[in-house]
């Protein structure tokens, strides 16, 4: 039966965390059930205090075939990292 149900991606915010992190996916007939299933499957060991579910089909992913043109050009542009500034001595915690 689960193959007839849409796939959902589950995001959980942990007690200490500020952001929701992707933890996995599951099948459910609708959003409400996806939420309940996520609670049962992914928070049984106190993993979180907030859940997001989103139907997998609504996620637009980058194409692995385009990885070269997407990511490689950043490779030789180290100057984009803010490591070329001289930090004055009396500034701490930088």
């Amino acid at each position: 039966m689960s193959k007839d149900w849409p796939l959902w991606e589950v995001f959980i915010r942990s007690r200490q965390g500020l952001d929701h992190k992707h933890v996995g996916s599951l099948h459910a007939p609708d959003a409400r059930m996806a939420m309940e299933n996520a609670r049962d499957v992914y928070t049984r060991r106190q993993e979180g205090v907030s859940i997001w579910v989103v139907e997998s089909k609504n996620i637009h992913a980058s194409n692995p075939d385009e990885a070269a043109q997407f990511y490689d050009p950043a490779e030789d542009k180290v100057y984009r990292h803010p490591t070329f500034y001289n930090v004055p001595d009396d500034i701490e915690h930088m």
């Binding site: 689960s2 099948h27 059930m33 309940e36 299933n37 499957v41 049984r44």
Partner: protein
């Protein structure tokens, strides 16, 4: 007397947990396998607290394990509803739903009772029980108001289980004598909640025909013996065995 009452509560949790546990590894989707095992584990957690309390009330002549694993069929005081076989998913679901409505009403009353121990157990249980009822209500609505097949299967389950539901809101002799919630007092509330969900699920409410009772006083259907023989086999074969 009070021990009888606490054992009645504990036995009901244990037998329903055991029934739900039978689904483990056999459910139709992984998500529900985990959901139903979670509910079973909640019930086992609650029954442990209750058996520990029952052992204390009995002067600790028996441990919680002895109470759970070494009593006979006639000493069990669970509701007849919870010992009924799992059947198909609709059957298990309807049984769970009828129980959850009762269970929430019971816990809401127990948190107000004079016994501090029962009050504490009920307070801890209530959060779990509210979730159980949400889970079973959502499924009742989806399957009742789902396809023709899911509707028909669930209606059959509701009809066949109906005669075991009356016992949930009967008051046993030991309940009359104690300062504990009287289930007969929340019959109206039970019926109202069940009606509301069945209506939303487009299911017919069965007519009140013959009603069965007796479990709370130790008179059971033939199913309990089979549950106990499977559940108690290890302790009876290897007394005192631990993991």
């Amino acid at each position: 007397m009070k021990q009888d009452y606490v054992l009645h509560l504990a036995d009901t949790h244990l037998i329903l947990g055991q029934r739900l546990g039978e689904w483990c590894g056999h459910n139709f989707v992984l998500e529900q396998d985990i959901a139903m095992s979670n509910i079973a584990l909640d019930l086992f957690g609650q029954c442990r607290s209750l058996y520990q309390y029952a052992a204390e009330l009995g002067g600790n002549t028996q441990t919680e394990d002895q109470l759970a694993f070494l009593r006979g069929e006639r000493q069990y005081k669970n509701h007849l509803l919870v010992e009924q076989p799992n059947g198909d998913f609709a059957f298990t679901l309807a049984r769970q739903f009828f129980f959850d409505v009762y269970h929430q009403l019971l816990c809401e009353e127990l948190v107000k009772c004079s016994d501090k121990q029962l009050q504490a157990i009920a307070e801890k249980s209530l959060k779990e029980v509210r979730y159980h009822l949400t889970w079973s209500s959502e499924w009742m609505i989806r399957l009742g108001d789902g396809t023709t097949e899911s509707h028909d299967r669930l209606q059959t389950a509701v009809n066949e289980l109906w005669m075991w539901t009356h016992e949930l809101t009967t008051t046993a002799s030991y309940e009359k004598a104690l300062d504990v919630p009287k289930p007969a007092n929340f019959r109206t509330a039970w019926q109202a909640k069940v009606r509301a969900i069945l209506n939303e699920a487009t299911l017919e409410i069965p007519a009140d025909g013959t009603q069965q009772a007796g479990g709370k006083e130790g008179i059971h259907t033939e199913h309990l013996g089979y549950i106990l023989s499977e559940m108690q086999m290890m302790q009876r074969t290897f007394p005192g065995m631990t993991w």
